[in-house]
Structure formats: structure tokens, C-alpha cells
Amino acid sequence: MKYKMPKSMREKRRYLEVRIVTPSSVDEEELRRVLWGALLGAIGEVGAAKTQAWVLEWDPAAGTGFIRCAIPSVDEVIFSLKTVTAIGGAPANIIIEGVSGTLKSLRTTPPVK
């Protein structure tokens, strides 16, 4: 049986809603590679380990998805993602549409535009 930490002992997380502006399509594996490349480049191996960042959901057609990370590292993850200027040779910009403590509230909050 898989060991599961009691809910009261689990660390709280933050969820980021991201949108990628790029002329080409980006799949989930590529986004994961971009995320970890950006984290390692901006804050190093120890910093990247502390972020506990992970791609939760990704919709390649819409270019939107959700990334999970630890609460103290939210700003570092956002900063790292903003340093990405190209994905797969095409110019790209990763925009953080929202930050929240639950996926539900991110999904129900209306977008800026």
C-alpha cells in the first residue's frame, strides 16, 4: 500500500494558472522540460528542489495549464518561468494568469481578458 502523509502534516501548495504565447504548439513533456530548465537556470539545483514544482494539467490546444509548487517558492517559480524567451526555437512568453491555493478557485475565477 502506498504510504500517504496525514492531511494535517502535508505541506501546503500553491497552484499557478499559466498560458503560453507562442506560434507553435507545446506539449506537456516540452512544458515540463522548459519548467525544469528555467528553474535550474534561474535558482539552481538546490533551489529547484525546494520549489517542488510540477505540471499538473496541460491543454496543448489552448496553451493553458496548471503548475503546482511549494508556498515559499511561488515568486521564484514565477520569476524562473518569466525568464523563458523561446520554446523549441520559436519565441515564447509564459504568462501567469493566476495564483491560488486551490485548483477550484483558479478554474472559477474569470480571466483578465
Partner: protein
């Protein structure tokens, strides 16, 4: 209600100032290194709403901070304690532009972040107003207010100070310019 003092009009910001005429609510001119007469000639020809000066070495920065025409100073490093006091007394905003950091990479970006962190440290000590700007020109360089606040936090600002550097401080400046 966020205000970007160097960007382009987009739904994330209530007001935007731009260095391109007509791209924002206010038009700014960025003056670089050069003699006083040359700066005056540029301002006379362009008629900007406000002037952004690009920092250089310590003596150059001092001259710029003492110039009454200069409202915002971009790349304000090197900044020492004396310059910080002059900036505070003359109400000059120190601009931390994200586009500069994004354009650099590797060693250059590290050194730039190091300079910006030192600037933030001195500015906080002397209560100099700091403003975070995106420097965006199109959708590929767009930075939202939340992302700018994260950038400020990475540089060493408190979350509240970082948020104020995107909202309260530039908004007060903007309202002063519009009146």
C-alpha cells in the same frame, strides 16, 4: 489597479506609460549619457510627459539625480548612500525594469541581479521610492503585475513593498503627471 511606467497598453494594467509615442497613456523619453545641453535639446524637441534617465557611473548618476527634469532613473546602479539620499530628496523614482533582466542570460543576468539587489537594499534603507516596470513592447514580452511583484520579491523587497512598487508608487506618480 496596476500602473506600468514602461510598457504597452494591455488589459492587465489600468494605465501605461511608454517610450513609444501613442503606445501608452503617457509618453516618456529615455535620455542616456551625454552633456546637459544635449539632454535639454532632446527634451525641447520631443516634449515628453516625463523623462527617464539611464544610469551610468557614480558621478553621472549624481548629475542625473540632481537634474530637476529627470523623474525616473532606470538601471540605477551603482547607487551609494549619498545618491539614495539625493534621489529621495528630489523625488526621483528608481526603476527596476524586468526587460533588461529577461534580455540577459547566464553570467550577465547574475551580475545584473546582483546590482539590482544591492540597489534595492540601499533604496530600502533610505526610503527611496522604487518602481517595477515590464519594459514590454509586444505580447511576447508582456509581464503581468503579479509577475512584476514576484520579480520584486526575488530582488529582496517585501511582498507588500513589491506590490506597492507596481501599484501605489507608479499610480501616485501617474496622477501627479496627469494633473
Amino acid at each position: 489597479m496596476a500602473v506600468d511606467l514602461r510598457g504597452y497598453a494591455n488589459p492587465y494594467y489600468a494605465h501605461v506609460a511608454s517610450t513609444v509615442r501613442g503606445a501608452g497613456d503617457l509618453y516618456a523619453v529615455e535620455v542616456c549619457d551625454g552633456p546637459y545641453a544635449k539632454r535639454k535639446a532632446v527634451l525641447k524637441a520631443e516634449h515628453p510627459d516625463f523623462v527617464i534617465a539611464r544610469g551610468g557611473d557614480l558621478s553621472h548618476n549624481r548629475k542625473l539625480l540632481e537634474d530637476p527634469d529627470i523623474a525616473v532613473m532606470s538601471r540605477p546602479y551603482p547607487l551609494d548612500d549619498t545618491l539614495a539620499k539625493i534621489a529621495r530628496d528630489n523625488n526621483v523614482l528608481l526603476e527596476l525594469c524586468f526587460a533588461d533582466v529577461r534580455a540577459a542570460s547566464g553570467y550577465a543576468r547574475s551580475r545584473m541581479l546582483q546590482s539590482l539587489m544591492r540597489t534595492v537594499s540601499v533604496a530600502r534603507k533610505r526610503s527611496v521610492p522604487l518602481v517595477l516596470t515590464s519594459g514590454a513592447t509586444d505580447e511576447y514580452s508582456l509581464v503581468t503585475p503579479r509577475e512584476l511583484a514576484a520579480f520584486g520579491t526575488v530582488l529582496g523587497l517585501d511582498p507588500c513593498e513589491a506590490k506597492a512598487a507596481v501599484t501605489t508608487v507608479p499610480r501616485t506618480f501617474f496622477q501627479g503627471m496627469v494633473r
